[in-house]
Subunit: 364 residues, 2 copies
């Protein structure tokens, strides 16, 4: 069986590494000549919407998946008409538009921060009395890692913020005073079987995920599973999904979901009986889903823009390196480390050491 | 960094899968067009002793290793004179000759079964009063998985057995009445640092390994570590080594060693904090060695000559698939499964199920 992947970066790389033991082969489509999954797969080198390459991808692959959600609708449509594509195109459509996504959450009875559609400065001005300050103005489409977002602290900020959006259809969201950010990762097969990973508690800085920690036996696990199950079933979803949530006094508000494997689930490679990458493959190939049982204490630390010496990381017992074969560049995720141990004290001490290493080399 | 591997089969495949997260790239030399590591590496396609390909391998790789011990001496010599080769050539020389190997064990104070060199029928006849029946006649070189071996039950068997050796320098070994076969896997860095895995208890059938089970806190662990340490230090060894031992009433007798990653260590992928494959790479790259701590109960089951449906295996919780991308053929190892769980009862029950699957498809 050959799996096609739109995108050949670190997510495709980790999907391929999880897939070889299952006897799978891979073909990726990526414009980057040095795509991180390139050495692990057949690499179709060109634009994501190149019709010839898409036709080749559809021809070569038994099933096509993707490592990013901003797949143009016509690309998903083309691929779907020629081969099996998972997750389904409707999940992409919802995830690509923050307004549609927020409405979707609310229609499913899942709370969100207050929000309003903004198509012009008047919309923004009208919305603010209900939304309140501080708030955040975001383009409805194509944002990630904090890009395309403007913070609004008072009415003085509105005009400049709207101008910065350059007329893009937008959404304004109220800030939520949350205790923590968490995400839940789940996988669903075509048959409807679902497995859930334990919550991950996530720390962002500058809009970029820095640390994700596995939360075994979390008090909000059941609520998060209920919410993500509603998404999966409504979308008749197949594959891995990640739902990001704010924990506000024990109530969970949905932030956004990603129809793909997710950075906050990277600790599952060593921290879970079956990783999110393997379960994504099992799901899209309609194979039995693997146990999501956690192995002890686990966390993932991102390296942004710079890398320590491999030796420094491997000197720390219980630390596993994941380099992405990407040239360091400001703000770019170039690697992560997983920390896994059965000992709570070792976990805390080692986490501090790895975090210090990550901060030392940080270029974000 | 680029690692070169002589041989591109399942061991090279699992070395490469362990190496990508460390940011490594791979080049393999293998005559098989469909070498299992081919998709994961640059594949130099041709004979192991092709001078042009060896020169390319030495040129491309920062360090060269191998997945089999029968590397011709002049190949190891050529590579060593052009690049770094680990494990060292002297380990190959010892492991390639059963007589040299047995003498080596005894010189290090490590017991073996009784043995004698056999260069002609007279040698064999002279040796048998001391060796006793039953015994086994083996060519000194190039045997694996029970090939090139003749069982001797009485003096009537001697002439035919010697004839079957076709004049090859041989060794006759007495049978050992052992309680179990075990192996110990260890890794050593150039600096001299060594890590040891827990003993693996191994079950063979027809000369082929079928089942390897991790033995945590084994009574013979210390003795096995002492023995393998003597080997490693005497050989100034770098990389992973596997030492096969017979347990005879609590005394360990050396059978043979393999200067490479070993089938009896495949359970370390899921069963250990760091796999034998990753520690082999860490060792030959002079990186800190990873923890060999075992995670719960772990075992490896080989699939010989045939494969069950992936679905059947993945239906069993706690079971991990490792397919080698090899066409099934009688007697050929085509895959293994790892079973890992914290629950002793689940372990026993699931092991029986996987073993039954392996027996059902067995073609050996």
């Amino acid at each position: 069986m050959k799996v096609g992947i739109l995108g050949g970066g670190q997510l495709a790389r980790m999907i391929a590494l999880a897939g070889y033991p299952l006897g799978l082969q891979f073909v990726v489509l990526d414009p980057d000549e040095h795509a991180g999954a390139g050495g692990l797969s057949e690499h179709l080198h060109g634009a994501y919407d190149d019709p010839d390459l898409l036709a080749q991808l559809a021809e070569k692959a038994d099933v096509v998946t993707y490592e990013f959600e901003n797949v143009p609708a016509h690309v998903a449509e083309f691929l779907s008409s020629h081969t099996t594509v998972y997750p389904p195109a409707n999940a992409l459509a919802v995830a690509q538009d923050r307004l549609v996504e927020k409405n979707f959450f609310n229609d499913l009875g899942i709370g969100t921060a207050p929000y309003a559609a903004v198509d012009n400065l008047h919309d923004l001005q009208d919305a603010m009395p209900n939304i309140g300050f501080p708030a955040i103005l975001k383009s409805r489409r194509m944002g990630y890692d904090g890009k395309g977002q403007m913070v609004l602290k008072s009415t003085d900020d509105l005009a400049a913020a709207w101008q910065a959006m350059q007329g893009a259809p937008s959404i304004v969201e109220g800030f939520v005073s949350f205790q923590r950010e968490v995400s839940i990762i789940a996988a669903r097969r075509p048959s409807g079987d679902i497995v859930f990973y334990p919550l991950s508690e996530n720390q962002h800085s500058g809009g970029i995920l820095r640390l994700a920690t596995a939360c075994t036996n979390d008090a909000e696990q059941a609520m998060a599973e209920d919410y993500v199950r509603r998404l999966l079933e409504k979308l008749d979803y197949v594959g891995v999904i990640a739902l990001e949530l704010f924990d506000v006094d024990g109530q969970l508000l949905a932030n956004e979901f990603a129809p793909r494997v997710h950075n906050s689930g990277h600790w599952t490679i060593e921290g879970s009986e079956t990783s999110q990458f393997e379960n994504h493959l099992r799901a899209i190939l309609d194979l039995p889903l693997g146990s999501t049982q956690t192995r002890g204490f686990a966390a993932m630390i991102n390296f942004i823009g710079g890398l320590p010496q491999t030796q420094e990381l491997l000197n720390l017992s219980h630390v596993h390196c994941h380099l992405y074969d990407k040239a360091p560049r400001k703000g770019r995720k170039v690697a992560h480390a997983t920390l896994r141990t059965d000992d709570a004290e070792v976990f805390t001490q080692t986490l501090a050491k790895v975090s210090a290493l990550a901060q030392r080399v940080d270029q974000s």
